[in-house]
């Protein structure tokens, strides 16, 4: 048995077609007036280069390599993010360095090179999930663009400074060796 589709019975007023058009025109006119008197900042359209959308919490944008308060990189070059990355866009070279630690003179690990190919990155946030030290964050910057492919390959220092202006931190371009034991800073 077929399904009986009920046809909508239009009233005589609706069948004139003139009245529904008038109603429709009232609606569009209401929208027109509303939009005309809405200030630009409150309109739905975000006029991009002039206005920017505030991204919601949990948005996965451009990465930042976090640093300690004294400017030392938090990353310990454990390669967890590189392993977790489904796009294989992270490449790390580790190095050893001496640091004043609880056990003084202990050899520590840190990345000598840390690069993310932003052309390959899919912004899935797996590196952030995998990181045991909370050293890599995906934050709210979404304006990742460049004029050539090479400059889309972000190195260690670029990644450490991606949000320097936004956070009011100073840009750093070399590893520093802290004079205070790391443990006290972390606490």
């Amino acid at each position: 048995m077929g399904v009986v589709v009920k046809k909508v019975e239009l009233s005589w007023l609706d069948r004139t077609y003139v009245w529904p058009v008038a109603k429709g025109m009232a609606i569009t006119f209401r929208h027109f007036i509303k939009q005309l008197f809405t200030p630009t900042s409150k309109r739905y359209t975000i006029q991009y280069p002039d206005m920017k959308k505030e991204m919601p919490d949990g948005y996965r944008g451009l990465h930042e390599l976090k640093r300690f308060e004294d400017g030392a990189i938090k990353c310990v070059a454990c390669f967890m993010c590189q392993e977790a990355c489904p796009a294989r866009c992270i490449s790390i070279e580790a190095e050893e360095f001496s640091d004043l630690n609880i056990t003084q003179g202990f050899e520590e690990k840190r990345p000598a090179k840390f690069s993310i190919d932003m052309l390959r990155c899919i912004y899935c946030g797996m590196c952030e999930e995998a990181c045991p030290k909370d050293a890599i964050w995906l934050r709210k910057d979404y304006e990742v663009a460049a004029y050539d492919r090479l400059s889309m390959n972000y190195g260690k220092w670029e990644l450490m400074n991606t949000y320097a202006e936004a956070d009011g931190k100073e840009r750093i371009s070399q590893d520093n060796t802290p004079s205070v034991p790391r443990r006290t800073i972390a606490l």
Binding site: V18, H31, Y44
Partner: protein
Amino acid sequence: MDKLASLLHMTPAIFWMVAKVVIVFSAVMLLASVWTWVERRGSAMIQDRIGPNRAKLFNRWPILGLSQLLADGIKFFFKEDLVPTDANKKLFWLAPFLAFVPALIGFAVIPFGKDFVSGGITYHLSVLDPGNGMGLLYPLAIGGVAVYGVLVAAWSSNNKWSILGGMRASAAMVSYEIGMSLAVLTIFMTTGGYDPAEVISAQGGALWHVLPNWNIFHQPLGFIVFFTCMFAETNRLPFDFAEGESEIVAGFNTEYGSMKFSLLALAEYSHLMTASALVATLYFGGWQVPFMPDPPVMLSILSFLVKMLFFAWVFVWIRWTVPRFRYDQLMRLGWKAMLPMSMFNLVFHAWRMSQGH
């Protein structure tokens, strides 16, 4: 004015004629191009968008997006002017003019202000003086010629999609012309003349002391028919059968580019201006100011402009309100609704006149 005329080696009469032609047609063309802006910004506001506002004059003043017009004009001028290899070249070149010229010259008989007397000479504010024997039959005839613009543009491009669009549009325009003509005929009948000056002067005064004595209050049905038919005549939504992005690429202007395309687009807006001027003249008293038996000349011009621009805006407003018709729906509406309605309108008013109203 006489001094200026003698400086230009013209008689004052010829000078006045030339001035009228230049002012009227350049004003209509200017309004038509400004109306592309109104269309874009207006539709944006209706749809809660913003519309073009990035183009800046001298990289400084966006003037509410109006400088987009200049940018578009410059762009159209510098684009490559392509003619398809298999197109009929002569007709392909002729078509934009065939579309543009009738759209513009339909305006010629429409009075845009009250006559005035200066130095013993009566000056008529319409390009063709009243009593020229053509009257309002002229814009109707010119409206019939406008079909050629669309059809020739479509046919000469040698493109299946174009010809489909052109065929549909010309069929729609021809079938709506009948209903429109009958609606106008009713006005000629009740006025007792077809000269626009007579039509307008018959609409002076007040009706029942509360309404202006406009034809719309006498013939609302005629107005609805005429206005609807005007949409079909100007090929605008909801009856824009010359075009149709989803079904026939771009329609009759698929193969057109550069200034030829721009001219076709401008023709549509000029046609819109002429159509709204016709609506204002026929049904809304032309330059008559409500409850003012003898308005000053400038006020009468202003009144006409306000009415015309209001209807031009209604054309835009309706376009962004009502969805498109299907082709068979269009034909059914034209032949089975508009034609009987305008016939009824004609017979009803003939009967009323026979009863002595």
